[in-house]
Symmetry: C2
Subunit: 432 residues, 2 copies
């Protein structure tokens, strides 16, 4: 034993999950899994530790080394605790490319670590729902993925007043910028980079940088107009664009399937310039006090490129953090009292009743599917009631010597505080 | 993109969980959680990363450093990926000692990492069920914990021919050795150390080492006899021992509650000399080809000592690895075909039917609680059937242009290969 006492705090940016926290987390993840299983997504997982190389290949050495917990094992391998799931799932898909049943509809709720300063909504250890469809190039997969995000949120009783899916398309973005600016691909990329910064730099700087690339005020106005256009007017600006047609197909289907109320076209959704290649979307919290993007995703090409040559598998998907979801559900009052509905019975213990009688009552409850425990110890009845209340039990079963002699027990409902007497053999059926 | 292709293999000693593996794992963990919730245990969890100090405090610096993946963060903190759960849960209990509702009945199924050579049954990343009762000193908690292990195994339909709980008591062990050898506490400890090695060293060495401590052949014979005694005869050798009385109470209650068929007294169960202080047990696989201890546990004192002075909280519990459980269930044929019972519908897609008609059929299935997906893509019907079979779908819904016109669809059962025609509006109710 050490002489100095150790800290009882968890490591900075991580959380302990006491039973009440865990109950909440299980409820979150259970709902999500159920919604996605209904939508026929299958769950997978991968190890917490991966070779650092796969993060370097995706994000570059500097970011990979700075954002991950990484270390060298005794065999000289440089490892990292996963900061995201995409490189792992890309590795898994690449490993069994010939055997897997494409298109894959996969999800996972892994925990991951990012080495960053902890702040509201950003922790060092977090869980992240990952939903993806691999190996389907059509807009149908984009629709299915967006629908799955809506189904997940709806499974928590969130409705269209609480969230909106903001949708854009990266190909359309490139094409419409080219169409407006009449520039070649190379210059168009430079323009795109500035447009991507539109809300991050001052208006003055924005206009100046565009002007330097030869973009006129009239062209800047045309770009500005895109941010308040509906999808049809926007797409009319470059009708031959594949991206425009993907957008139109997607919104047409959203309308016909009654999902449009959850969705809106938003030219401001870019999500960085290097990764996504088609549909991109972000899900916004609509509450005035928290109106911001909660999570997002989109379509990307060449998932397995770092693992397999000459193999192209596309993906479309999103990632949603557990803290983000929790904030959203709490803000909108969508977290119920998880202990309220559950029947859970504490059998109180009295010294004048043989212990085995209690054990058999507990067993009869469990056999009937009712969670039950005997009070472990020999404290006074009042203390046992306190224990039951604090422990979220719904009922206390009272069977002292006199009750046992009469072949009955009393069931005390801890919510209503009512007590009823029932025959011992009827206990499970009364509680069911 | 890197020029060199990366390996698709997971890190040594870790596993990828493809959907079929994950389905199995979810089934394992779901059964365990359900059995323990019925027994009124509550789930908790803790971060994957902890301060290395808590493992050093429990196991010493050498073991802690050698067995864990550990590293220093940029703040100079030495951290470890957890190799076990007890130090974390001790920290959590110590942190809220004044608020928690003792006795606690807690469980967790965390993943953890141990830096060791991977071999059958021992991986570097594994999951481990931890079940504990904290803050109850009586044999009642020991009984409840042992019963929970039996309930967990029974929930997989394992019966008393497949496993047995071997039970001993560390206090009884010490007391009966003293009683037989008539030695003082100090010498008794030395004798115990040799008895603990009984099956690990040669008989010759065993007798020699005991003789060196002044133990006679007659005394050695008396110790030998304990290994084939029943619990009553064994306890009669030191009737005043607290440990003997705990054993007798425990076995009396096991008998009265019909759990004795799963249990046996076994003087050979020691589980190391430094940690456990009362009841100790190990659960054995009874199959001839795998007859060995699968997991075990027992009672220990002073759970929170390294975190809090002058506070004593006892615990009794066990840990069970996921690989061990899987081996046991597979050996005894207790893993069913998990896809066999599930209804899961693939809606086949034909080009002459508007896409929104398919989307609405899929939505009606999901609303009825039936997992369903539209085939994503536009391959020939035969390919779509192949996809459904390989993807463990139970049914394919066939609705081409002619069926749609007639207001019907065909449901193909992929097990029986039978096809029935139903009205489109009846699809969910027929499949339910």
């Amino acid at each position: 034993m050490c002489a100095q006492l150790l800290s009882t705090q968890p490591y900075k940016g991580t959380r302990d999950f006491y039973p009440e926290d865990m109950q909440l987390r299980n409820w979150f993840f259970g709902r999500i899994s159920e919604a996605l299983r209904l939508a026929s997504f299958e769950e997978y997982n991968a190890p917490m530790i991966e070779s650092l190389d796969i993060y370097i290949a995706k994000s570059g050495e500097e970011i990979a080394k700075e954002q991950t917990y990484n270390f060298v094992d005794r065999g000289g391998r440089t490892l990292a605790i996963r900061p995201e799931m995409t490189p792992s799932v890309a590795r898994m898909v690449a490993a069994k490319m010939g055997e897997l049943n494409f298109p894959l509809k996969w999800f996972s709720i892994p925990n991951m670590y990012r080495y960053e300063r902890p702040q509201r909504g950003r922790l060092r250890e977090f869980w992240q729902l990952n939903v993806d469809i691999f190996g389907c190039d059509g807009y149908e997969a984009d629709l299915d993925v967006i629908e799955s995000a809506i189904l997940v949120l709806r499974s928590f009783n969130a409705d269209e007043t609480m969230f909106k899916v903001h949708i854009n398309n990266r190909r359309f973005f490139n094409d419409v910028i080219s169409a407006i600016c009449g520039t070649d691909a190379d210059n168009s990329k430079k323009v795109s980079k500035i447009v991507d910064k539109r809300n991050k730099i001052s208006r003055e700087a924005y206009e100046k940088e565009l002007a330097e690339l030869g973009i006129s005020s009239a062209q800047i106005e045309k770009i500005d107009a895109l941010y308040s256009m509906d999808v049809k007017s926007a797409c009319a600006l470059c009708p031959d664009s594949i991206g425009a047609n993907e957008l139109l197909s997607l919104f047409d289907m959203l309308e016909k399937t009654d999902l449009l109320k959850y969705c809106v076209f938003d030219f401001g959704i870019i999500r960085g310039l290097d990764y996504y290649t088609g549909t991109v979307f972000e899900v916004f919290d609509e509450s005035p006090e928290n109106n911001r993007a909660m999570f997002g995703g989109g379509r990307y090409d060449n998932l397995v490129g770092m693992f397999a040559k000459n193999a192209k598998i596309s993906g479309v998907g999103y990632g949603m953090g557990d803290v983000t979801l929790e904030n959203f559900l709490v803000t909108h009052g969508l977290v119920p009292d998880l202990y309220a509905k559950e029947v859970r019975v504490l059998v109180a213990r009295f010294d004048d009743v043989p212990y085995e009688n209690y054990i058999s009552v507990v067993a009869s409850l469990r056999n009937a599917g009712i969670p039950a425990s005997l009070y472990l110890g020999s404290k006074k009845f009042g203390k046992q009631i306190d224990y039951a209340v604090k422990g979220h039990y719904s009922h206390v079963l009272i069977m002292g010597g006199s009750e046992l002699e009469a072949g009955i027990a009393k069931i005390k409902d801890l919510n209503s505080r009512e007590e009823i007497a029932v025959a011992i053999s009827d206990i499970p059926s009364v509680l069911k």
